[in-house]
Subunit: 312 residues, 2 copies
């Protein structure tokens, strides 16, 4: 497993030498292994500083037990730890939002805040290859184009994922072999609920046929990723050429591009991700009319231009 | 359901007016519904001639009962039927091949032979949207690039699939509503075994989250298909430019293309579909050496050229 972490770093250089690293730490097996591996590879990574950040979502009864575990773990390892708390369930209710998404947003807000205040270079999360498989399947089922199938990257902005190439099995084996202790996360709500079903009911069936499912997804992803980049830069060029003052697009310029590029240009320009909506907007390249986009915006064909307008 | 068949024909025109159609007929619910729908839409499709073709794989005890059912069905409907038989299991054993693939190859050979001998224009099969979902998942699990994720087309060469946009549920509902009779295919072997697991254990879980799973896959596929076409034609252009006499490629021309296009050029040129093999061959663009491809061929870097050679 350690080998895969080293290989990822050598191939993709996700953590620059001399970085300071804030590790997102839930106390679960993934993050316990992440910390252990990073401490093992401290010299290899040449890190300037390492600390943990734990966010208490206050959703479950065990949340405070987990927070206590994390603090004790940090103390045992001689690591700094920053903790934050928020009653995520109440916030979600107030804002009428999905619990999982609210939890995620508040957690990342806490991590970013801590990173800025404490002057860290990077946030490290314990996302691994089995997460990638699950995420890809989830996006596939919910309906996404190529970028849904790409899941997440080993490095996205200031977030790095050193366990990116490691499967859950390898993580658990490593934890057991080293006699590590961790807390179990028994949460089972909203999106997590679906993820759990994918994890426990879908992935095992797929693995009966392909024991190297994770590796297969990893390879597939690399190919799709490279292909995506080509299409993305083609769309970018069209977008730059088509854009006029006021943020409108010259319909004719977009119309000349292949259909697949038209879709990407419109998604990039309008921010709309829903596929049938995108195709509706695409029709405005060829004829007059307007399409309501939600969030108070509509796409309108005005003479030679395609524009976004507020409506009330 | 009929509406979806009409819509596919209107949008994609898979069956030209005045065609003669040989319908692959197993006697299962899919193919019974296919025949029924085509007879209902006889005027709409303006078909010159319709006949059935049944291939008896002789794998199961019920195979002869099925053949008898098919003949009687044809008689009741006043349709011509052509039948073929082959002991698929023995053939697979003799040729040391996978049973499912052997069955498929022999079935298609029979269909093509009948089509040619009897002067039909097209073969119609009962593949539907739920098959497409299963096929996509199977390819995804087995490891495929974008083209695995594309599954199959509504029209491929001389094969057309009028039920392409229809889900299995809609087919079964239609069959029950019209009081149709059919035979059950209980085969459960090899690849079919995996397909059945996908069908009965994976798809239902995915549908708990997205009841419109089939439609979602259909939309995703349309996008991927359009994007695939762009990449395919880019690769084709590079291939044409790079190819020299004797079938070798000018390494430098391929090298200048983006990585994703390099991969596609090499796959197209070498016929190799295994991803890590393709990346091995790709390395020959940058340095000397050779890669064994199996089937008695190897890829060799010779000066400025990349060539395929036989080896013994």
């Amino acid at each position: 497993m350690i080998r895969k972490v080293i290989r990822l770093q050598k191939e993709e250089g996700i953590i620059p030498e001399g970085s300071s690293l804030l590790i997102a730490f839930s106390g679960g097996v993934d993050s316990v292994v992440l910390v252990d591996v990073i401490l093992e590879l401290k010299d290899f990574f040449r890190l300037k500083r390492i600390a943990l950040a734990h966010f208490n979502h206050m959703i479950r009864d065990e949340a405070f037990r987990d927070e206590w575990f994390c603090k004790r773990f940090a103390k045992e390892r001689g690591l700094e730890i920053f903790t934050g708390r928020e009653d995520v369930r109440s916030r979600a209710r107030e804002e009428k939002r999905n619990l999982e998404e609210t939890a995620r947003d508040l957690r990342y807000a806490f991590l970013r805040r801590t990173k800025e205040e404490q002057n860290f270079d990077l946030i490290a999360t314990a996302h691994h290859l089995s997460d990638l498989v699950e995420t890809t399947l989830i996006w596939m089922v919910r309906g996404a184009g190529i970028e849904g199938l790409l899941g997440f990257d080993p490095k996205e902005g200031d977030v790095v994922r050193p366990l990116y190439r490691v499967s859950k099995e390898e993580i658990t084996e490593y934890a057991k072999a080293k006699g590590l202790r961790w807390v179990e996360d028994k949460t089972n709500y909203d999106l997590r609920f679906f993820r759990n079903r994918i994890r426990h009911r879908v992935v095992p069936v797929l693995k009966e046929v392909n024991r190297n499912l994770e590796e297969t997804f990893f390879r597939m992803r690399r190919i799709l990723k490279d292909e995506d980049e080509i299409l993305r830069s083609m769309a970018e060029r069209v977008l730059v050429e088509a854009r006029v003052e006021g943020g409108c697009l010259t319909a004719e310029v977009v119309r000349k591009a292949p259909v697949a590029i038209q879709r990407r240009v419109i998604r990039e320009w309008s921010g709309v991700r829903n596929l049938s909506k995108i195709d509706q907007i695409r029709c405005l390249l060829f004829r007059g009319g307007e399409v309501i986009l939600g969030n108070g915006l509509k796409a309108v064909r005005k003479g030679p231009l395609l524009c976004l307008k507020k409506f009330s």
